[in-house]
C-alpha cells in the first residue's frame, strides 16, 4: 500500500516533469524565433559588410545556421537535437553551445555552491539562535538584520563591497583566474566578495525561515517531552527541533534556486567578472547570440525543475509524515 503509493506519486511527478519540460522547450523555441535579430542581422551590424547585397548575405548566413527550413521542421529539429545533446551552434562564439556551457558551468556552480553553503550555514545558525533567544535583543537584532539583508539589492551590495574593500581599502583586488585551480587560495579570495554579494540576501531569507520554522517547532509538544526526558537544551534544539525544522528550510533553499539564486548569480557574475554561465549569457545577449542565451535559460529552467523534483522525492524519504496520494 505504502510502496505502491510512493511509486505512483513518483510516476505522477515524473509525468508532470516531462510535460513541463516540453512546455519549457517550446517556449524557448518561440523566444529563439521571435528575436528580432537573426544571425544575419547580427552579421550585418558590421557596417562594412553592409555594403554587400543584403539578400545574398541573409541567405548565406541563414544557411550557415540551418534557418532556411520551414518553421515546423526547425521546431522538430530543435526538439530532436536538444534531446540528442546537440544544443546548436553559437552565433558569435564559433563553437557548439554545448561546449561553451561545459566550459563555464563549473564557475557558476562554484559560486552558487559556496554562496549557498555560506548563506545556509550562517542563516540557519542565526535563525535558530534567534528563535531560541526569541524576544530578546539578540532576536530583534537578528530580525532587523534579516530585513536589511532581504531588502538590500544584491547588485548594489556588490558595488558597495567593491567600493569599500577593493577601491578604498584595496584588500580584494584580484580577479578570478581560470588558469588557477578552482579552489586555489587566490580564486577563493577572489570569490569572497561575490559570495557575500550573492549570499547575503539568501542568508537573510534563511534566517527568517529558520527562525520561524524553529519557533513553530519549539512550540510543539515533543519539545516539552524531550526536555522532560532530561535532555540538555543543545540536544533538544540541535536534534529534536532542528531535525524537524530543517526539512522545510531545505525545501525553501531548493526552491530558491529559480528566482533568487539564478538572478543573483547572474548579476554577481557580471559585476565581478566571474566567467560563469550568467556572464556568458549576458555577453551573448548583447552580442545577440540567442542560441546561447536561450540554452542557458533552458538549463536554468531544467535545473530548477530537476531540483524541485528531487526535493519532492527526497522529501518523501526524509519526512516520515508525508503520505503519497
Amino acid at each position: 500500500m505504502k510502496k505502491a503509493g510512493l511509486r505512483g506519486y513518483i510516476i505522477k511527478r515524473l509525468i508532470y516533469a516531462a510535460i513541463i519540460t516540453w512546455g519549457v522547450v517550446t517556449i524557448t523555441f518561440v523566444l529563439l524565433r521571435v528575436g528580432p535579430m537573426s544571425p544575419a542581422d547580427k552579421y550585418l551590424s558590421n557596417m562594412s559588410a553592409r555594403t554587400q547585397d543584403p539578400a545574398q548575405v541573409v541567405a548565406a548566413i541563414e544557411a550557415r545556421y540551418g534557418l532556411d527550413k520551414p518553421i515546423y521542421e526547425q521546431y522538430f529539429d530543435y526538439v530532436v537535437n536538444l534531446a540528442r545533446g546537440d544544443w546548436g551552434w553559437s552565433f558569435s562564439n564559433s563553437l557548439p553551445v554545448v561546449t561553451l556551457i561545459r566550459r563555464h558551468w563549473v564557475y557558476s556552480f562554484q559560486l552558487i555552491l559556496l554562496s549557498m553553503l555560506f548563506s545556509a550555514t550562517l542563516g540557519i545558525l542565526i535563525g535558530v539562535f534567534s528563535a531560541v533567544k526569541r524576544y530578546t535583543r539578540t532576536d530583534y537584532l537578528a530580525t532587523l538584520f534579516s530585513f536589511i539583508g532581504i531588502s538590500i539589492p544584491n547588485f548594489w551590495l556588490g558595488i558597495m563591497l567593491i567600493l569599500i574593500f577593493s577601491v578604498q581599502l584595496g584588500w580584494f583586488k584580484s580577479y578570478y583566474d581560470t588558469g588557477l585551480p578552482m579552489f586555489s587560495l587566490a580564486n577563493l579570495k577572489a570569490l569572497v566578495l561575490p559570495v557575500i554579494t550573492l549570499g547575503t540576501g539568501m542568508m537573510a531569507g534563511y534566517t527568517r525561515y529558520a527562525r520561524s520554522a524553529t519557533l513553530d517547532n519549539l512550540k510543539q509538544d515533543f519539545v516539552r517531552t524531550a526536555r522532560a526526558k532530561g535532555l540538555p537544551e543543545r540536544v533538544v534544539i540541535g536534534k529534536h527541533v532542528l531535525r524537524n525544522a530543517i526539512l522545510p528550510i531545505i525545501t525553501i533553499i531548493m526552491f530558491d534556486l529559480s528566482g533568487i539564486v539564478f538572478g543573483g548569480a547572474y548579476l554577481t557574475e557580471i559585476i565581478f567578472g566571474i566567467p560563469g554561465l550568467g556572464r556568458v549569457s549576458f555577453n551573448a545577449l548583447f552580442a545577440s547570440d540567442y542560441p546561447v542565451v536561450v540554452t542557458i535559460t533552458l538549463i536554468g529552467a531544467m535545473v530548477v525543475l530537476l531540483t524541485n523534483l528531487a526535493t519532492d522525492i527526497v522529501y518523501t524519504r526524509l519526512d516520515p509524515r508525508i503520505r503519497y496520494d
Binding site: Y135, D221, R224, T225, G230, L231, P232, H240, N244, R321
Partner: protein, 338 residues
C-alpha cells in the same frame, strides 16, 4: 519523618502575555507521598498543567515565569537547583507524560529511538542495550510485536498506542515519580480504560508515586488515592478520594460531582456549573469562585477565603467553613496560603 516525596509550597506561576498577566498558578501547596496516586482535578484552564510543568520547570519562558514558592524533592528545592541538576532529575527521577500523544512524540524519529533516548542519556546504555530495553518496555506497556514496531514512526501508531509509547519512554529509567498530565483526554473511551489499567498496574507493580492530572472526575474515582481540586489557579479542596467523593466540602467540588453522570442516582440530567471560568488576568476579588458559587455570601467577594481543615487529610478553602476546626498540627500540608 517526612514521607512526602515531593512538596509544592506556595507555587506562583504567571504568564506575561500581550493582554496582561495570567495568574495561572497562584499560591498552590500540595504534597505527593511515596507510592500514592495523587489526582489533580479541575476544569480546563484552572492551572493544573501549569502546576505540573512548574514542578520540572518546563514552563515556556517567555511568556511563563515561576515567580515564587518552593518545590522540594528529597528536600532539594527544584526551583533553585542548577539547570544541570534538574536535567538529571528529569526523566530519571521524575518522568512526565503529556496530554496529546500525537504531538508529544517527535514525528521524525522512530519510537524505539525515543524510548531509548533517556536510557542512553541517564543510564549511559549503548544504543544496542538501550534499544533492547526499549523493546522490553514496549512489551510491558502492552504494545504487540514490539520488535517490529519499534522501528516505526509515531504516525504509524494509533493514539492509544502512542500513549503507551509515551508511558514506556517515561518509565524507561524507572523514575520515582510519574507526572501524567491528562494522559487519557485525547483518547477514546475504550482506549482510555486500557491506559488507566496500565496506570493501575504501575502503582501495584512498581510502587511508583503518580501525580495524575485530569479534568474528569470519573477517571479520578478509579485510580486516585488522594485528590486535589483546583480552581482558578488556586487549590479549592484537598482530601482522600473517599473524602472528596463522599463529603465534598467546597461548593466547586460539589458542582463538579453533580456534573458526573451518576447511574445509581438515576439522574435524568447533568447539572452543569453555571457561569464560565473566570479570567485569570483580572481575577474576581475575594474568593475566585464567588461569581459562580451557588452558596455565595456577601463576604465572598470581600475577603480571601481561609484554608480550613475538616480532617487531617481533608482541607478546603472556603468561607463556609470559617469556624475552624483547629489544626491538629500535623506537618506538611498546613502552610497557610498567605
Amino acid at each position: 519523618m517526612n514521607h512526602n516525596l515531593l512538596e509544592v509550597k506556595n507555587l506562583k506561576t504567571y504568564f506575561f502575555t500581550r493582554n496582561g498577566v495570567v495568574q495561572a498558578v497562584d499560591g498552590v501547596n500540595l504534597a505527593l507521598r511515596k507510592g500514592e496516586n495523587l489526582c489533580l482535578v479541575g476544569e480546563s484552564g484552572c492551572g493544573k498543567t501549569a502546576t505540573a510543568l512548574s514542578i520540572l520547570r518546563l514552563i515556556d519562558s517567555p511568556p511563563g515565569k515561576i515567580l515564587g514558592g518552593e518545590i522540594l524533592f528529597h528536600d532539594e528545592d527544584l526551583l533553585r537547583c542548577p539547570e544541570e541538576r534538574l536535567r538529571q532529575i528529569r526523566g530519571r527521577e521524575i518522568a512526565m507524560i503529556f496530554q496529546d500523544p500525537q504531538s508529544s512524540l517527535n514525528p521524525v524519529f522512530t519510537v524505539g529511538d525515543q524510548i531509548a533516548e533517556p536510557l542512553k542519556l541517564h543510564l549511559k546504555l549503548n544504543s544496542k542495550e538501550a534499544l533492547e530495553r526499549a523493546r522490553e518496555l514496549m512489551e510491558q506497556v502492552g504494545i504487540p510485536q514490539a520488535d517490529e514496531r519499534m522501528k516505526d514512526y509515531p504516525h504509524q501508531f494509533s493514539g492509544g498506542m502512542k500513549q503507551r509509547v509515551m508511558i514506556a519512554a517515561a518509565l524507561s529509567c524507572d523514575p520515582e515519580i510519574l507526572i501524567a498530565d491528562e494522559p487519557t483526554t485525547a483518547l477514546d473511551t475504550t482506549i482510555k480504560a486500557q491506559i488507566l489499567d496500565i496506570f493501575h498496574d504501575l502503582k501495584q507493580a512498581r510502587n511508583m508515586s503518580i501525580l495524575f492530572i485530569t479534568h474528569d472526575m470519573g477517571t479520578v474515582a478509579g485510580i486516585a488515592d488522594r485528590i486535589v481540586v483546583m480552581y482558578g489557579g488556586k487549590i479549592a479542596e484537598v482530601g482522600t478520594t473517599f473524602d472528596i467523593f463522599d463529603q465534598p466540602a467546597h461548593p466547586y467540588t460539589q458542582g463538579l460531582l453533580t456534573c458526573l453522570p451518576n447511574i445509581s442516582a438515576q439522574q435524568q440530567r447533568l447539572t452543569p456549573i453555571p457561569g464560565t471560568i473566570p479570567s485569570l488576568i483580572d481575577p474576581p476579588s475575594g474568593c475566585i469562585f464567588h461569581p459562580r458559587c451557588p452558596k455565595r455570601m456577601p463576604i465572598c467577594d470581600q475577603e480571601d477565603p481561609p484554608e480550613v481543615f475538616i480532617s487531617d487529610e481533608h482541607r478546603v478553602v472556603c468561607q463556609l467553613y470559617k469556624q475552624p476546626v483547629t489544626s491538629p498540627g500535623k506537618t506538611g500540608d498546613t502552610h497557610s496560603a498567605q
